[in-house]
Amino acid sequence: MASTLPTHRTLSMIQRYWELLYVLVSRNIKVRYRGSLVGIYWSLLNPLIMTGLYTAIFGATFAEYFNNSIVDYVLAAFTGLVVIHFFNGSTSQALLSVVENGVLLNKIRLPMSIFPMSMVGANVFQFCVGMLPLLLIVTWLKSHSLISLLALFLPLISLVWVCMGIGFLLSGLYVFYRDLGYFYELVRFILGISSPVFYPAEIVPEAVAKFLILNPLIPIIESIRQISLSGNLPELSLIGKSLISSLIIWFLGWSCFRWWQEQYMDLL
């Protein structure tokens, strides 16, 4: 016997988006961590291990830039790695998201943009469960200020916007060009190397520094480091820079995605 509940789908667009997002993100997380004991904490382990490695290799050499404190180096490397790790994870998963769900899109009517968004969303969830608490603890210990804790969310939001924008761009391009993965791996590598993660920003020569403006992650990393590690009040200029650049990227990525959207169905 059929149900006697309301027959009309009364959800507004926003509600529908939210429901879809929730369901897709939870599907993602469940499938990823099903049958895994350590589960979500793997996403925390990798940056911690990498921090350890970098410290072991580069710590001595660069310590002088960090008030000769290895601990400061460790923290700086860690915050940088957190950002890079999140970025790499979300964008490379978003890249595949539309094509992976191509079969589904051919059978049910769904807003395509939900797929890259859900990939970023899954990574946000992972981040909140894993690294965010650590980051908040470090910030508190260093600054003892509630304002800093709250301000920390601003560059983090910028990071999410950057990832979404690039995620949209990549997922759309991937529909047309299936070898995009290789190129993007190269781009990711360059972005990672050009960000001052295991080395301090000061040693970058002038000539190269001009190009660094193309790397949207740098203002975010700098802002997070300033808020969580310096012990001073959050610097608005850094926050502003990261917010503005991330908004621009989000807008560009979103526009491209929408502009190409009609052509996707023929290729999925």
Partner: protein
């Protein structure tokens, strides 16, 4: 009688499969060499005019590749027409390949909620309906089993149960009855009976001409993306069979 679906001069162009150059490297090189061509397109639907009224049971028949599934996709909103207008009034329950949205690694309950949300319901609503759906599909014991452990017949029952659990205004069926055992077919018929009586509009695509004869009043005959004829079930079927026969005799 109220109009529920209207297609006006709908044309649809789609990129042809052979031209797919999924290759960034090739594209960049050919642009640089000045040899870039726009990808070729094929006319998949040509000037389709269609009107379906509320409560009508309409069948769509035609040879493979004539555009039957494409028309359904256009009506469902999965594909947008290149020109022309598509107007649909009411909520659609699309049964295009049962269980397309299922994730084999998730449990049956999770998939019910997932599928339901994709069809447009909220999680809360789906949670309320899980019991009824499992009952209809006779899968109560399998509630927590991952879908990859179900047989294809069970998956079909589940998909059908979810999509038809709520009275839709328009039911769209694309060759869904080829899967499933006798029991399943009977259950489908039972529920279809209920929906039939409730003045649901039904759009059916099938190669099973006997079933189409029984179920539909009106038939649309599609050929190569165009509406060749629209009319009463019996006459269209006869004409369709005759035309298939003549085609057969030219194959030697």
């Amino acid at each position: 009688m109220q109009e529920v679906i209207r297609l006006e001069k709908v044309k649809l162009w789609r990129r042809t499969q052979e031209e797919f150059s999924y290759d960034l490297k090739k594209t960049v090189l050919s642009i640089a060499a000045g040899k870039y061509r726009q990808p070729a397109k094929k006319l998949v639907l040509n000037n389709v005019d269609l009107v379906v009224e509320k409560g009508e049971k309409v069948g769509i028949i035609g040879a493979n590749g004539s555009g039957k599934s494409t028309i359904l996709k256009v009506i469902c909103g999965i594909l947008k027409p290149s020109s022309g207008k598509v107007r649909v009034r009411g909520e659609i329950a699309p049964l295009i390949e049962l269980g397309a949205g299922f994730d084999p690694n998730l449990s049956v309950i999770d998939n019910i909620i997932l599928y339901g949300v994709m069809l447009g319901f909220s999680r809360w609503e789906m949670k309320q309906r899980v019991g009824l759906i499992l009952e209809f599909a006779e899968l109560e014991d399998y509630a927590l089993v991952p879908v990859k452990g179900l047989s294809s017949g069970m998956v079909a029952r589940l998909g059908f149960a979810i999509a038809t659990d709520v009275q839709p205004d328009i039911l769209i069926l694309d060759e869904v009855f080829s899967v499933g055992d006798e029991r399943f077919k009977q259950k489908c018929q039972y529920r279809m009976q209920q929906l039939w009586d409730e003045k649901t509009t039904v759009l059916l695509v099938s190669h099973d001409l006997d079933y189409v004869k029984e179920a539909c009043e009106v038939l649309i005959w599609l050929e190569k993306g165009e509406v060749r004829m629209v009319g009463g079930t019996d006459e269209i079927i006869d004409l369709y069979l005759i035309s298939s026969q003549t085609k057969k005799s030219t194959i030697k």
